[in-house]
Subunit: 115 residues, 2 copies
């Protein structure tokens, strides 16, 4: 499941110029908005942060620090994976997650000023 | 209204370290998630982009390029202002909007890698 999810992701990586330097096209705005929507939730931001800080994290190690149930954590990791921000590797019962830095960086670049 | 809105904004500016370098605290995650939620809509991203590219824009000049009604544009500029990303100056019938670069930059910094 996890690897298929990452293959289905949107094209944030190849998109877009900075929002701040030239008016954004409607199609670029759609792609970026989907990326930012994945970050628009405090639990997802904390998950992304925990995964990034560790490099690779077993989903089994995400439950206790967040104090959330397994279905909740699964729901949010799925949203992050669908946005292309993390990718998962299923090993036995658990998924091991890591950040896709290029995708996060595409969103960061979209907020870069022209100066 | 516009100037009061900007005074009521969240504290994105003074917040936060990068999401990618250390696990995010729950309170920082709340602040950042509110900022990213404002960017999680293609019309709001296009508005932010148009305002940033021009420097200062009359709300009267935002309707035609977006092809949206005045209530829709007002709704979205209000959301951007409440997130502290733009600030408005009411002159006569119209509000003149400009970007608050420090706020956008706080969100950009949150996506900065540690490398």
């Amino acid at each position: 499941m996890a690897s298929r999810t990452s293959a289905e992701t949107a094209t944030t990586e190849s998109c877009c110029g900075s929002v701040l330097t030239a008016p954004l096209s409607p199609s670029d705005a759609e792609v970026l908005a989907r990326g930012f929507a994945a970050l628009a939730d405090p639990v997802r931001l904390r998950l992304l942060s925990m995964i990034a800080a560790t490099g690779e994290v077993c989903s089994c190690d995400l439950l206790q620090p967040l104090g959330k149930s397994q279905p909740t954590v699964s729901h949010h990791t799925k949203a992050l994976a669908e946005a292309g921000l993390i990718t998962g590797d299923k090993r036995g019962r658990w998924v091991y997650w890591r950040v896709i830095p290029e995708r996060v960086d595409a969103l960061r670049r979209a907020l870069q000023s022209g100066e």
